[in-house]
């Protein structure tokens, strides 16, 4: 049996053993640590030599992902989508970048009256959040003047209960920009945190700036397009005015020429007419004398014939002279020799009705009249007879343009400043050449001897005299519309 002394020796042996083992373990651990340190140094050295490469690779990976987002946005910005689509796309990209965060948008002129929207990610559009406008002035004041920058709002948005009801998280990311010159948009991204890498935050900033630049570019393009449209309009107006001016000049020259011719013809016509009258009296005397001495004169057939023919000849001459006088009178009308006619308030409706009555004999056989006058048509300052002359002329021309049966539509209406009359037919219409010469004196499409070609030129002069305008639209085979307009008489006498 082992005695106590042996046990003690065994314990001492084991203790010594354990002590030695512990020492060996400590030594082993110390050696391991030295080895690990050396290994670590080697690793450090290896890492140092790789560090630049590794860091460049990491950065490249990050940048590639972010550039992809920016490139998507940039491509979208330059495409021909509407500004609203561009905004929705931008907000969606930002939402995706920030882990599908909710997005609220406010659009306002003054922050007290902001319209709120929410990004509907499923349908890719913005839907109204609140039915009424909301006051976001306190929120807007938190953003301060920092436009086109993402800003972390760390104050709880409890001051606006309407908004806070739609926010899930305590802190938000806010971005403001000017959508138009006096319209601001405020974007709220409802995020649980803003723990993102510097690169991602940079990407957000770049995306925001890119979007604002795209908006500005779009706005500039729209302005340019508007200006271009205005310029086009002005150019069209200028061209039209130039044409009008050329036309007026031409008409003025023709008027001067007509006035000269009228003046030159007037005098000879005057004495020819007067002489013919005297000549007629003389012939009566000669006839009387021949009758008295008739029995004493030898039979002369030629004299008898001359005696019979001279009366109608003189009458025909007087008729011809009258017709020339009439033409001269018309020429005088055209050359504004009769501007002295006094203008007074007249009812266009009455003038139209009277003109239809007068021209009825021409109208009734082959045309149907459709008259459309608005009620309470204001009066214009005019000369009833002259205006009737114009309308009769237009109606008769319309009748002549109808090949068989046709329809003539006469309309009259007014706006605040002018009264308009249109006379349309569904007749043969006119070609461009005819349209260009329409108002020139002696221009006619009628067969020789059937028209003087003075009707429309005189009408033109009358309308000018009334400070009115005449326009014509015509399509061959479809018909013609003449549109007249006259300024309304002074308000005190304008109501019919």
């Amino acid at each position: 049996m082992p005695n106590e002394s042996d046990d003690r020796l065994e314990v001492e042996r084991l203790t010594k053993h354990i002590t030695l083992l512990e020492k060996a373990l400590r030594d082993e651990r110390a050696s391991k640590k030295i080895a690990e340190q050396k290994l670590d140094d080697i690793y450090q050295h290896r890492y140092d030599s790789y560090r630049e490469l590794v860091s460049a690779l990491e950065q490249a990976n990050h940048r590639q992902a972010q550039l992809q987002v920016l490139s998507n946005l940039a491509n979208y910005h330059v495409s021909y989508n509407s500004t609203a689509e561009m905004l929705t796309h931008f907000l969606q990209e930002i939402s995706l970048l920030l882990e599908d965060a909710s997005v609220i948008l406010f659009d306002f002129k003054t922050p007290e009256q902001a319209i709120s929207y929410k990004l509907d990610k499923e349908n890719n559009n913005l839907v109204k959040l609140l039915p009424k406008r909301t006051d976001i002035s306190s929120l807007y004041s938190l953003v301060g003047g920092n436009e086109s920058q993402w800003q972390r709002i760390t104050e709880k948005l409890t001051h606006n209960h309407e908004i806070s009801a739609f926010l899930e998280h305590d802190f938000q990311l806010v971005f403001t920009y000017h959508r138009l010159r006096n319209r601001v948009n405020l974007v709220i991204i409802d995020i649980p945190h803003y723990c993102y890498s510097k690169e991602l935050k940079q990407t957000l900033d770049t995306a925001g700036q890119q979007f604002v630049s795209a908006l500005q570019k779009r706005s500039t393009e729209e302005k340019l397009a508007n200006n271009y449209e205005k310029l086009q309009h002005t150019l069209k107006k200028l061209t039209s005015m130039q044409n009008q001016l050329v036309h007026s000049e031409k008409m003025a020259s023709i008027g001067q020429l007509a006035a000269g011719i009228a003046h030159e013809i007037n005098n000879p016509i005057g004495y020819v007419k007067s002489n013919l009258s005297v000549l007629n009296d003389y012939i009566l005397l000669f006839n009387q004398a021949i009758k008295e001495v008739g029995n004493h004169l030898p039979e002369n057939e030629e004299l008898t014939f001359a005696q019979q023919d001279i009366g109608p000849l003189i009458e025909s001459c007087i008729g011809g002279v009258d017709r020339v006088a009439e033409i001269v009178s018309s020429l005088n009308s055209f050359s504004r020799k009769e501007e002295s006619t006094e203008l007074q308030p007249v009812s266009i409706k009455d003038i139209i009705n009277d003109s239809i009555k007068i021209a009825w004999n021409n109208i009734k056989y082959n045309s149907e009249i459709d008259l459309k006058c608005t009620e309470d048509l204001p009066k214009i300052m005019g000369h009833k007879g002259e205006l009737q002359q114009v309308l009769i002329n237009l109606i008769v021309n319309a009748v002549h343009s109808l090949e068989e049966q046709g329809k003539i539509t006469i309309k009259a209406w007014a706006n605040k400043r002018r009264v308009y009359i249109s006379v349309s037919d569904n007749g043969c219409g006119m070609d461009e050449k005819t349209k260009n010469k329409l108002f020139e004196p002696f221009f006619t499409t009628k067969p020789e001897g059937q028209g003087t070609g003075l009707g429309l030129s005189v009408s033109y002069a009358i309308i000018e005299h009334h400070k009115g305008e005449i326009k014509v639209e015509s399509t061959q085979g479809e018909g013609t519309t003449f549109e007249l307009c006259f300024p309304i008489a002074n308000e005190s006498i304008a109501i019919a």
Binding site: K32, K33, E36, L39, D40, Y43, Q44, R46, Y47, Y50, R51, L53, V54, E99, R152, T154, F171, P192, H193, Y194, C195, Y196, S197
Partner: protein, 180 residues
């Protein structure tokens, strides 16, 4: 995970509960093949998770308590190794702002192309910050312990609120760190 963490953990258990406790833990572990870890190597994160769970069972304390104590002990050692990276920091928030670089370097020293976790901060106010920890290793608990350790190092008291956690099925861990 870097072997240095395992070495530190072994030291922590040995110093506080004896070598036998450490050997017992290793014995019960199915994932750890040896009681000795090499500081410069990388090991499976699940090994640490298992060791912590076994420790919690044997000692009858929560994993969080173990981590807090472990973090306090481990932190000075890690700080010693990485102090040239963070020697200008004098408070926990500044330190956390730089710590990601330290983690990266330590992991990449062992394997230059190794996956590195990301630790990103969002400073809400002077005494509050949000910290997002993204790692497929899901060892946020260690990060939490180390933050406690770091706070202790800088003589600060912190409370950590785990707002979201990968262990609860979230995409990443989000911790709110508040200094007293």
């Amino acid at each position: 995970m870097k072997g240095a963490i395992f070495c530190g953990y072994a030291e922590f258990i040995e110093q506080n509960h004896g070598l036998m406790t450490w050997l017992e833990i290793i014995d019960k572990s199915e994932l750890a093949t040896s009681s000795s870890f090499i500081a410069t190597e990388l090991y499976d994160d699940n090994i640490l998770v298992e060791l912590l769970t076994i420790t919690s069972d044997i000692l009858g304390v929560t994993v969080s308590e173990i981590l807090t104590s472990f973090g306090k002990i481990l932190f000075p050692k890690l700080m010693e190794a990485a102090k040239h990276h963070v020697d200008k920091c004098d408070n926990i928030f500044d330190f956390l702002d730089h710590v990601e670089n330290v983690i990266h370097i330590e992991v990449k020293k062992a394997d230059p192309l190794a996956y590195t976790p990301s630790l990103i901060l969002d400073k809400i106010s002077n005494n509050k910050l949000l910290l997002k920890y993204t790692s497929h290793r899901q060892v946020c608990f260690l990060a939490e312990g180390l933050i406690y350790g770091a706070a202790n190092h800088f003589n600060q008291q912190v409370t950590i609120e785990h707002i979201s956690c990968t262990h609860q099925g979230d995409k990443h861990c989000l911790m709110k760190v508040t200094t007293d």
